[in-house]
Symmetry: C2
Amino acid sequence: MTHFADRLCAAVEQKGSCVVVGLDPRPEMLPPEFRPGPDDSAEVIAERIRLFHRHVIETVAPHAVAVKPQIAFFEVFGPAGLSAYLDAISFARARGLLVIGDIKRSDISSTAEAYAQAHLSPDGADAVTVNPYLGSDGLKPFIAKAAENGKGVFVLVKTSNTSAAELQDLLVDGEPVYVRVGKLVRRLGAERVGERGYSLAGAVVGATQKESARVLRETMPEAFFLVPGFGAQGGGAEDCAPCFNRDGLGAVVNSSRGILYAYQKDEQHAADRWREACECAVVKMKESLEDVRNKCRAARDRG
Amino acid sequence: MTHFADRLCAAVEQKGSCVVVGLDPRPEMLPPEFRPGPDDSAEVIAERIRLFHRHVIETVAPHAVAVKPQIAFFEVFGPAGLSAYLDAISFARARGLLVIGDIKRSDISSTAEAYAQAHLSPDGADAVTVNPYLGSDGLKPFIAKAAENGKGVFVLVKTSNTSAAELQDLLVDGEPVYVRVGKLVRRLGAERVGERGYSLAGAVVGATQKESARVLRETMPEAFFLVPGFGAQGGGAEDCAPCFNRDGLGAVVNSSRGILYAYQKDEQHAADRWREACECAVVKMKESLEDVRNKCRAARDRG
C-alpha cells in the first residue's frame, strides 16, 4: 500500500498536471443531452448525472490528476444521488484518476470515526476534505483511517470565500487563526510523511489571498495544498504560485464549473460538442499551471 | 407555516420535556433481536437499523421533544443507510416529534445552498446542525432555506469535546473565538425571531463547561441551545442549568447512547426488555431536566 502523498506526487509527475476537476453536478447547467426535465424524479436526475460524469471522467482522465466530487450536489438527490457519487469515485479510480471527496465533514471521536469509515474505506475516495472547528479530536480519526488505508485528508485551513476572514483571520497573539490551524495540521501530520516528504495530512488553501498562501506554505512545508477558487472563483494560475514548493510539488488546483460547463462560455464549441469544450478547458488550465510549476523549479535551480 | 422556534417552544411546553434523543445507530450495540451478523450486507444492516429506530421513536415519542439522527452513522451504510436516515425523519415527524438532523455540514454559496436544499426541504428534518468555520457565507444559505421552510439551524459554537479549546477557546482581543461565533450567530439570526422571542438560528453549546454556557447565554439570548454531552459524555442535568433562560426555555438537551442502549447498563431489564430500559432512561432524564427548568422559572418568579 503506497502512501497517499507519494501516490499524488507520482501522479502529478507522470501526467505533468496538478489539475483537479471538481464534479459539481448542477442539473440546470448540464449539456442539453443530459439535462433533466422539470418533472423528473430524483432517481432520473441522479442517473443523468451519473452518465454525464462518466463522460467527463473519460474526457479529463489524460489531463487531470484527480477529480473532486462535491457531495452536497449529490445529497440533493437522496440515496440515488449518493449512488451517483459512489459511481463517480469507482469509475474515476478505474481510469487512473485520484479522487478527493469534497465532504467537509466534522465531528468527534466515534462519530468522526464513522465518517472516516464511510468515506475513506478501501473502495472509497483517495482523500477527503474535513473541517477543523472541533480541534484535533475531530481530525485524528480521519488521519488514522487515512493512514490505515493509504488515503489522505485535506483540512480546511484558509478558504477562498469573502467571509472566511470573520473567523479564520481573527488575530490570536498577533497570529491569524488560520496559521494556528495550519500548525495544528502540521503537528498532526508530522508522523505521517511519505517518501517524497509530504504528509497524508494536507490543507485546503484558497488561491485568492497570495499573502496567506505564502505564509501557510512556510508554516506547513510537508502539507499538500488543495487549492480551490481557480477560474470561476476569480483566481488564475499566477495566483497559485505561492502554494507550490520549490520542487514544483505541494499543491493541486481545482476548477469545477470552468471545466464541466466550459461549453457554456466557449463560442467555438456548440452545446453538442461539450466534450471538446471540456477538454480544451482542462488542457488550457493544465498548461498555465505547468508554466507556474516550471518557474518554481527554475527558481530553485537558479538557487 | 409556523416559525421553527415557536414550534419548539410549544412542543417543550406541551410535552413538559426538553429531551432530545440522539439516534446513533451502532450495529454492535443494537439489542440482540436487531443486531446484524458479521457477514450481513450494508442493506441488511440498514434495514435492521431502520426497524430499531421505529421502535425507539414510538417508545420515546411521549417523553421527548425531538430526535436527533446523527447522519455519520447512517453514511457508513451508503445509500441504504441514507434511506434509513430519511425513514427515521419521516417516521418521527409523523409521531409528533421534531427532528434535528445532526449533519454538521459546512460549505459556501451555491454548495451550502445545495446542502440546505438536501436537508431542510419541506419533507426533511425540522432543523440541522452546521459548522461556522467558513463564516457567514457558510451560514446564510442554511438560515435562508430554514426561513423559507419553517425550519431551524443550530450552529456549532462551543462543543463539548476536550480539544474544542484548541480553536474555539483562542482569545481574540481578550474574547474567546466561541463568543465571536456566538455574536455572529446572534447577528445572522436577529431578523428571524419568532413570536416567543427565539430565533430560528440556534447554537450547539456543550454542557460540560458551565462558565462558557453562562457567557453564551448572555451573548445570544434569542438563540435556542442544542446541548449535547448529557449522560455518556459526562454532563448531568444540573450542568445544563446555565443553558436555560429564566423562562425555562432556550435549551434542549440531547442524550444518545444513554437512552438508545440503556438496556446495556440496566440490571432491571434484560436485553429482551430493551424498550422498557429505553423508556425508563428517557423519563428519568426528562424529570431531572424538568427540575432544572422549574428552578429557572422559580428564580425568575422570586425576582
